[in-house]
């Protein structure tokens, strides 16, 4: 078998391991799904009318706000599942299984790649559930099949980038709880973006941060794809730039941390 064949087979084995974990312990995935779903229901049914009235300047209409909020909630879901990845990696690192893997003739990168690919699959499934809830409560996207494909591609790209960062966070954390706390910004940042309200409704000093942080351009791009609103070159470029930057950073950070000897 070629040297390239070995890592591929190892990656598949590690992916299978992660998917088995996900199947055996669905509670972690469900807990992480719960936050975006609760926020979706809370913001639509409790704040929806008032939010809609504030955004449009007309009478409150909950259905208009559903259309506005769902793209942001979808990206928040990715942040939530990325926290799960950080916790899972930290658990692996502290429970001794990695020490066992290090002694085996397997590709080193495969352990991390298994986590990443497994998490991306889990994330896409979680996104399908959240999107289902969105559709059930009245979200009506008008995207064409091509736009849907691009939207799925965008969500996958964002997932890969955030999950690589989460893997790095999991590797530097002393335990699962520490990983959960360290990765918390991945859930908080969407709240400080254009997910729930337009950034121009925020105070000047804060607006700059909200506009240029990774989630806002990604949300605006997704919103444009699903609902036909203006995307703008800036948002598309920023989204792809952030995704590539975070992926490269997360990958090299994770690789460097993982390749260090356990004692060092």
């Amino acid at each position: 078998m070629s040297t390239a064949g070995h890592p591929f087979r190892d990656n598949v084995t590690m992916l299978r391991r992660n998917l088995l974990h996900a199947r055996r312990y669905p509670s972690l995935t469900l807990n992480l799904l719960l936050t975006p779903v609760i926020l979706l229901l809370l913001f639509v049914y409790i704040f929806g009318d008032t939010m809609s009235a504030g955004i449009t300047g007309g009478p409150g209409d909950r259905s208009e706000y559903i259309a506005y909020i769902v793209p942001g909630i979808l990206l928040m879901t990715i942040g939530g599942t990325a926290i799960g990845t950080a916790v899972s990696v930290a658990s692996d690192m502290t429970e001794g299984i990695i020490a066992r893997f290090r002694t085996m003739a397997i590709s080193r990168a495969s352990v991390l790649i298994g986590h990443v690919v497994g998490s991306v699959i889990q994330t896409l499934m979680a996104l399908a559930v959240v999107l289902g809830v969105g559709l059930a409560i009245g979200f009506r996207p008008d995207a064409t099949p091509v736009e849907w494909l691009v939207a799925v591609g965008l969500l996958a790209l964002v997932s890969v980038s955030l999950i690589w960062i989460a893997v790095g966070m999991g590797l530097v954390s002393p335990n699962a709880e520490g990983a959960s706390n360290l990765a918390l910004p991945l859930m908080v940042l969407p709240l400080l973006s254009s997910a729930f309200v337009p950034v121009d409704a925020m105070p000047g000093w804060f607006r700059w941060f909200a506009e240029y942080q990774p989630f806002s351009p990604a949300i605006e791009t997704l919103r444009g794809l699903l609902l036909g609103s203006e995307i703008g070159t800036r948002n598309a470029v920023l989204t792809v730039g952030w995704c590539l930057g975070l992926t490269v950073l997360g990958y090299f950070w994770s690789k460097a941390r993982f390749n260090r000897e356990p004692g060092s």
């Binding site: 809370l42 049914y45 409790i46 704040f47 009318d49 008032t50 939010m51 809609s52 009235a53 504030g54 955004i55 300047g57 409150g60 909950r62 709240l191 400080l192 729930f196 309200v197 337009p198 409704a201 925020m202 105070p203 804060f206 909200a210």
Partner: protein, 263 residues
Amino acid sequence: MSAAAHAFTDSATMLRRQLRHMLRYPTLTLTAAGVPVVFLLLFVYVLGGILGSGLGGPSGGRDTYVNYVVPGVILMTAATAAQGTAISVAMDMTEGIVARFRTMAIARVSVLTGHVLGSLTQTLLSMTIVTGVALLVGFEPTAGFAEWLGVIGLLVLIIFALTWLAVALALKARSVAAASNMLTPLMVLPMMGSGFVPTDSMPAGLQWFADYQPFTPFIETLRGLLMGTPIGNNANLALGWCALIALGGYLWAKKLYNREPTQ
């Protein structure tokens, strides 16, 4: 010395114990204030412009919304602190100190009373911090001296009621984690009341629930005292809920505490 005097002395001792804890671990007070402060900043600076415009009012926008949201956030502080109390009681129950107290010649109720009075002090401190932050971000209450006295009285009653409920739930819980989880709904109730948006902007079923749950009359009474908005029947409802929750919590907590540890 009479039994009542004994109980009073023992309660004072237990209160002193709780206040010592509070001084040694100030993070508990800061945490109780921290969550509401984060909510306040999030709802004022991130969502406030839109929610304020949605509410309408004379000027709309963030300035209107600060004054609207603060009473709800202050009551969220009471809910957060109640969760802290539940954790504290559950820790006492699981760490064996209560078993030690049971063997001593002290009034049984004093252990719980100490927790409640200590929590009351701690929550009022946390509320002072939250109100201070609110004033910094633009909260402008119109209350006079009498109204401020009414505000303090109302908050003491609400804290007292929620704390007894928290103590009872903590005694019912089997672990510290369970006690913490049992109190989570208390954190959500201000959001499902009139704390952040008027109840008439909610769908019918939810509006009915929001109108009749305890936090809505609490918030409306507090808002009326601080901002001069009409209170109506909310004051009576708030006092009724306080009495009911406090009495229910006290009797339930007493019953659970007086059971033998093995039961």
